[in-house]
Symmetry: C2
């Protein structure tokens, strides 16, 4: 299906914050009709004014083949419990939550047998929050994890994958909820934990910013963290997060011991392997920001 | 002294790699006359062809009030031992090495009493290596640490600070060599160690790049590391680096324990403090890249 075919679909967006607003903006860019609703009317009115949604009338959700829920798990659950009748009989509901655990079971128990819940996790975002920070470009070249279940209709999974492609993402790897939670504990939870720990070192001072360059800047960027969201994510994915912190500590300990023992060869080997892996990570050009052309200060 | 006053000075650059080439490019942009020399003739010829140096004749170093050595410590020492007579009687020699230790003592023992060695550390750079990667923009908004000694003439220290301002840097904090090595163990050595450890986790897989976003990308950027240089830096600054790794591990352990004990308040407090510090770090706008406007994928 080409992007122009996908644009024929009417899509719904629940939650018009940074992520929901970005979905809406991008869908409008592609040419989809977009129904968008939000807890507060002000965001709906702003989205209408911006032209990134065509309607904020909940009754129009009935036109939507795909509905993207960009709200926390609890709110998605509450929406299904209270507003299921608003959805089309063949609607595909998808979410963007950062931990999958057993939510799909809950969602499936609430929707109709003719509907599908297909979980998703766009590995992209933007600093800040709210509709004013939304951007159609966040999906460009990004990864977007899909979690199809045996109970999902194949054509619905294919449609979600079309959506991901139309958004501009580079990859849509399909894994189980269990695998998802294991993997993103390494690729997302751990980097956030490490960034926070870097900032919280006893060595931090008010004038640290007079002595830093690009390495410190880039490694602590996500330390400006939404503490409610991430406390919840760390606890929801607790076992996997603990595993990843321990594995990270083990790797760091290898380097620390090599430095302590003045073992030049061991240090060199460690750093050489890190470089090899990083270049391998970057070799698929998985995001346009993998480019080496950026000027950085170090 | 304004930038236009600084441009009246003839400057020398020893070593025409990425950093030396960047200094030369920026000096030319400002309007200085630049004498540049390199171990290999090909880089000198390329620099002349690019118009980023005015002369590659070592005899012209005699015109230079400031000479920036952009080579490793050993090469700077060798240059002083073999070519001191090429320098002006009142020349100020400065370097860019990442660890200061006792090098200033060595340099001082080799130069004339009428000359000065004032160590420096520009906290900026660029991925890659070599003259082809040089850029005049790396200094913009960057930090550039200066290490004045009691034996340095005040007017020479002031001139180096003028140079740093003319390059476009935001801050030129002055510290002792000892303080420098302590501080950059946190601000530079540790981020490189952490980035390498992140890549070297047992969890890394060939397809990890299908599941990552901006946090992993940014935190592992410097893991594509020059293993010779960094093995040397880690060993040269060994005690301080070990201290910083231990402090980082202690901070991470605080978070790990809080997650293990399911202590929501402790996790939230930890993350909240990390956010507070990161915003404080960013509040002086210490680099143009401190801006939140950048679109990132997470």
């Amino acid at each position: 299906m080409s992007t122009s075919d996908f644009s024929k679909i009417t899509v719904g967006v629940i939650g018009l914050g940074l992520m929901g607003g970005s979905f809406a903006k991008r869908f409008k860019e592609i040419g989809n009709r977009v129904i968008g609703i939000n807890r507060t009317k002000s965001a709906e009115e702003e989205a209408l004014r911006m032209g990134i949604i065509d309607s904020a009338d909940p009754k129009d959700l009935k036109e939507c083949r795909i509905v993207v829920s960009c709200t926390p798990e609890k709110a998605t659950k509450a929406f299904l419990e209270e507003n299921l009748s608003l959805l089309a009989r063949d609607a595909i509901l998808t979410d963007i939550a950062g931990v999958k655990d057993g939510f799909a079971d809950i969602a499936e128990s609430l929707i109709l047998p003719t509907q599908d819940f297909i979980s998703g996790h766009p590995m992209c975002g933007r600093e800040g929050a709210g509709l004013s920070q939304a951007s159609a470009d966040i999906f460009k070249g990004a990864n977007y994890i899909v979690i199809p279940r045996k109970s999902n209709r194949k054509e619905n999974v294919a449609l979600i994958e079309e959506m991901i492609r139309a958004l501009g993402c580079a990859h849509a790897p399909a894994v189980t909820a269990h695998e998802h939670d294991e993997i993103i504990a390494y690729t997302s939870d751990l980097p956030h934990a490490a960034a926070a720990a870097l900032m919280n070192s006893a060595s931090y001072r008010k004038d640290t910013n007079r002595f830093t360059g690009g390495s410190f800047r880039d490694e602590t960027r996500v330390a400006d963290i939404n503490e409610e969201l991430w406390t919840s994510l760390f606890l929801s994915n607790r076992e996997n997060v603990l595993t990843e912190i321990e594995r990270f500590e083990a790797a760091l300990e290898t380097l620390r011991r090599a430095i302590e023992e003045k073992n030049e060869d061991s240090i060199r080997t460690f750093l050489s392997e890190a470089g090899r892996r990083r270049r391998e990570w970057d070799s698929h050009g998985s995001s346009e920001y993998g480019s080496r052309e950026r000027i950085v200060q170090d």
